[in-house]
Symmetry: C2
Subunit: 252 residues, 2 copies
């Protein structure tokens, strides 16, 4: 039974018999060891791969994956904070720590995907400007950050140029009379699309958090939608709260 083999190996991983980065027995070894066909061993190993516990490295074997808190990076994203002007916060946060942050920016005019179109309250066919970015840390892709703006609001502004905006996009929006004063954050958890796998170089068994942030003006009309894709193996979302009720929906 393949699930038995998987269970054995899983136990050895979680109890430390097979530590991080250790090499598992080869498929051939496991077939003789358990006296089953190779496909059966393979099914067990595939299960562990999809659980995110191990990773197959081409012609060298299966290896125990790095444990979760690899990048134990408290994201300041969800902690209300004073503005950090002059520089993108991602860059500022991480370059202060001996890491090497880098990002690619790419600006284009697109028909926004449905989930963005709805949040921006655009009609079918209306266009948006998207600033698509991939952030890297020490050369590894860390997350993506796609900011969508209604084309009508930002046409001919700095936002359409594929470089950092030193003042921040909010300033630019404010100049257009579209100051953003409120935001709605939604976080979805799901498996990545093949596109996301490519863009972020995700291993198998790596789920992602999709953080969609909708920025609103004082009168409640949306002026931007930011879609962040955060690979689960590289992110811990952290925030602090003051106040009495810590356990969230927990009272007892």
């Amino acid at each position: 039974m393949w699930s038995q083999i998987a269970e054995d190996l899983r136990a050895k991983i979680t109890d430390g018999t097979l530590p991080t980065d250790a090499r598992l027995p080869s498929e051939a070894e496991l077939t003789t060891q358990y006296g089953v066909a190779r496909a059966t061993v393979r099914q067990a190993l595939t299960a562990l791969v999809n659980e995110g516990l191990i990773v197959p490295k081409a012609p060298r074997g299966y290896f125990v994956r790095h444990r979760q808190p690899l990048f134990y990076r408290p994201q300041t994203e969800f902690r209300p904070q004073p503005k950090t002007p002059e520089m993108d916060r991602f860059m500022a946060d991480h370059s202060a720590e001996g890491r090497e942050p880098r990002q690619s920016i790419d600006v284009s005019i697109v028909a926004p995907p449905p989930e963005v179109r709805q949040r921006l309250k655009l009609k079918e066919g209306e266009l948006a400007v998207v600033r698509r970015r991939v952030r890297y840390l020490d050369g590894e892709p860390y997350n993506t950050n796609d900011s969508y703006f209604p084309l009508s609001l930002v046409q001919d502004t700095e936002i359409m140029r594929p470089v950092d905006i030193a003042r921040g996009a909010n300033e630019v929006l404010a100049e257009q009379g579209q100051e953003q004063v409120r935001a709605l954050d939604e976080i979805y958890v799901r498996m990545p699309t093949p596109d996301e796998v490519r863009r972020l170089d995700l291993g198998p068994g790596t789920p992602i958090a999709c953080h969609i942030c909708t920025g609103l003006t004082a009168d409640g009309s949306p002026v931007r939608v930011v879609v962040n894709v955060l690979p689960g193996d590289r992110h811990v979302i952290v925030f602090e709260r003051e106040g009495m009720d810590p356990a969230s929906n927990d009272k007892a």
Copy 2:
């Protein structure tokens, strides 16, 4: 090539040719249709299952999975809110909406798992009280909520009884001179353990968010750790913010 088959089917799902709940062609049909062996078709289908796109239903076929926002449930968890006394917020929130909330409670004394032990700053071997709960909505498991307290703090209090605590656990802690005034929230995204799959009845390809909340007193010592496990297909984490900087670490 199995990835070609997967791509074909994936396209049909995302473009709506195969809508939600539609039945895919059977493995046998696909083998003749593509002229390949069954195992090859199977590999393609398994990939889609692990992406969370389809679900195999025992002897009836593969079906397109419900789309993400099944329970489009704004969680109030992350929005600082006034206390709702008298009743567990989970129950209050959802019974107000024609849903049927239910929860099981089970209290025990345990050696806490490492991630809890560290956050409670307990020494190796020190014990904790855990109130383990599974929340159900309309009969389906919705999430789990395990609250850990240092045994020394809550011995012989209401917290050790396996029933709702009307006043809320915070009140009880406060009476012990351990009022919680601050909290640290961490959210991890990963694939579930087999345990979690059982407890929450998770389908394949369903990642989870693990929300760990550490409650602190005024002097910074931890008094409780709550581990919430939120299945990705049943949760959208939502919160609102006031203030200028909506796009999180996004400035440009």
